[in-house]
Symmetry: C2
Subunit: 263 residues, 2 copies
């Protein structure tokens, strides 16, 4: 019973809550991420509610989908050998970068920035060289992260009865600003672009450039809890931004090439 002198707890509920999903097992090829997510939620004492969003690290999606590649199995092309020499990178890694890319956006020194098959611009085509089980392996991005997200969303709906949104996220470097932030590469059931260009502002003036990207905002937030050097937090539950039954996908984020001033 409370002391009469003590005021009741006044803290309002948070508008946005993020829960790190700890204790998931190390994911390997063929593992069922949706099932592991539901187990991890249960162990954490978290009951899903409709509208929750789960952000999932690209790395475990790639691993589950068997996207690890042994460099020893890669035969570099002549072009990959040449670029390998120029960049100081393993030519077999360069070969994979080229296969995963549709365009080299920039190369200088050891930096190789490409547009991936998915349309996103990332260093090294998003290929991950860390935390991949020994033996000279690297990890490619999922083949179709939007489809991966939709599949996991559907599996979670079937098993839990809950309509959640799914984000597959990756850490990315950016022009002009140091330090990686999280960004979305796959998405299902989450508002990706919020177009408010038609809305008048407080003074009745039409807003100028006001398409926001809530999906990337959520990815950046979730990424804060994931860290880089360990796989302890491969997924984050986000509560407070209703996911809704959105039909947008991550590829909708790709800026049309004709509007791209930085190719």
């Amino acid at each position: 019973m409370r002391d009469a002198e003590q005021p009741a707890a006044m803290t309002a509920p948070a508008d946005l809550q993020l829960f790190a999903l700890r204790g998931m097992p190390r994911i390997g090829t063929g593992d069922d991420i949706a099932a592991e997510l539901l187990h991890a939620l249960q162990r954490s004492g978290l009951a899903l509610v409709d509208g929750d969003i789960i952000a999932i690290a690209q790395k475990i999606v790639s691993k589950a989908e068997g996207r690890a590649v042994r460099l020893a199995d890669v035969e570099p092309s002549a072009r990959a050998r040449e670029l390998g020499t120029k960049t100081g990178k393993d030519p077999r890694l360069v070969e994979l970068i080229l296969r995963e890319s549709v365009e080299i956006v920039r190369r200088r020194g050891g930096v190789l920035i490409t547009r991936t098959r998915l349309g996103f611009v990332q260093a090294n085509a998003g290929i991950d060289q860390s935390n991949v089980d020994g033996g000279g392996q690297v990890l490619l991005l999922p083949v179709d992260p939007d489809a991966s997200a939709a599949r996991m969303r559907s599996e979670i709906a079937v098993r839990s009865g809950r309509r959640v949104g799914i984000l597959v996220i990756d850490s990315m470097n950016r022009p002009w600003r140091l330090g990686t932030t999280g960004a979305v590469i796959g998405c299902s059931g989450v508002r990706v672009l919020d177009d408010r260009r038609g809305s008048p502002d407080l003074y009745g003036r039409r807003l100028e450039v006001t398409v926001s990207n809530p999906a990337d905002g959520l990815a950046a937030a979730a990424n804060l809890l994931m860290g880089e050097a360990d796989e302890g937090v491969p997924a984050v539950l986000i509560r407070g931004v209703p996911s809704g039954d959105e039909t947008q996908i991550a590829r909708d984020i790709v800026r049309p090439l004709e509007d791209d001033l930085f190719r």
Copy 2:
């Protein structure tokens, strides 16, 4: 008293919580943002704790610092007139953009992307044309948002006895990816760059490119609650990422020009 059959509430506390600070008054020149923040926190039933971070929309910082400019008071230079014709922008606005910038990074059609005096690359030098009290006014960025953040942090420490971190944030467009996200332009007492390049990963391999930017991640998260078209939420309380007594500032985010592949 609980029913014996009913399990105790199992929900773990969120690892990261964001609270929208609603009901702040409209801010004008000379207003004391630190005082208004503390009032808003009190009205919301939120007691600050050491390590909390408050993200503040650039717009109210600029307004408090008297950075609204009446276009009627601006005399455009010949260069501003020429660029105004090329971009279809008001030459007086272009004049302000040029004064606020050290470099035009890209111009095409009506898009003008510049490097501001602060070093950040933004459309229109970060000048805001929306939600500025009528009369053909626009709003420039704060002169020194890092100093603004440090001042507010210090004022909050004096008045509340709490050590908090302060972020001054803005919505920015980005190359390649559609939709704005929040990013930091001013900062005090928050970890800006988290350099983990020295840490071995799970397999003992040195991590490659793993400088993350938690400050921008927090800004992107807070920006989700702010929206664009109203000033109802000009500040967000963030709890769960200890701010610490960091000495980094937002300008530390500026990628060195010699490493900038997108000038």
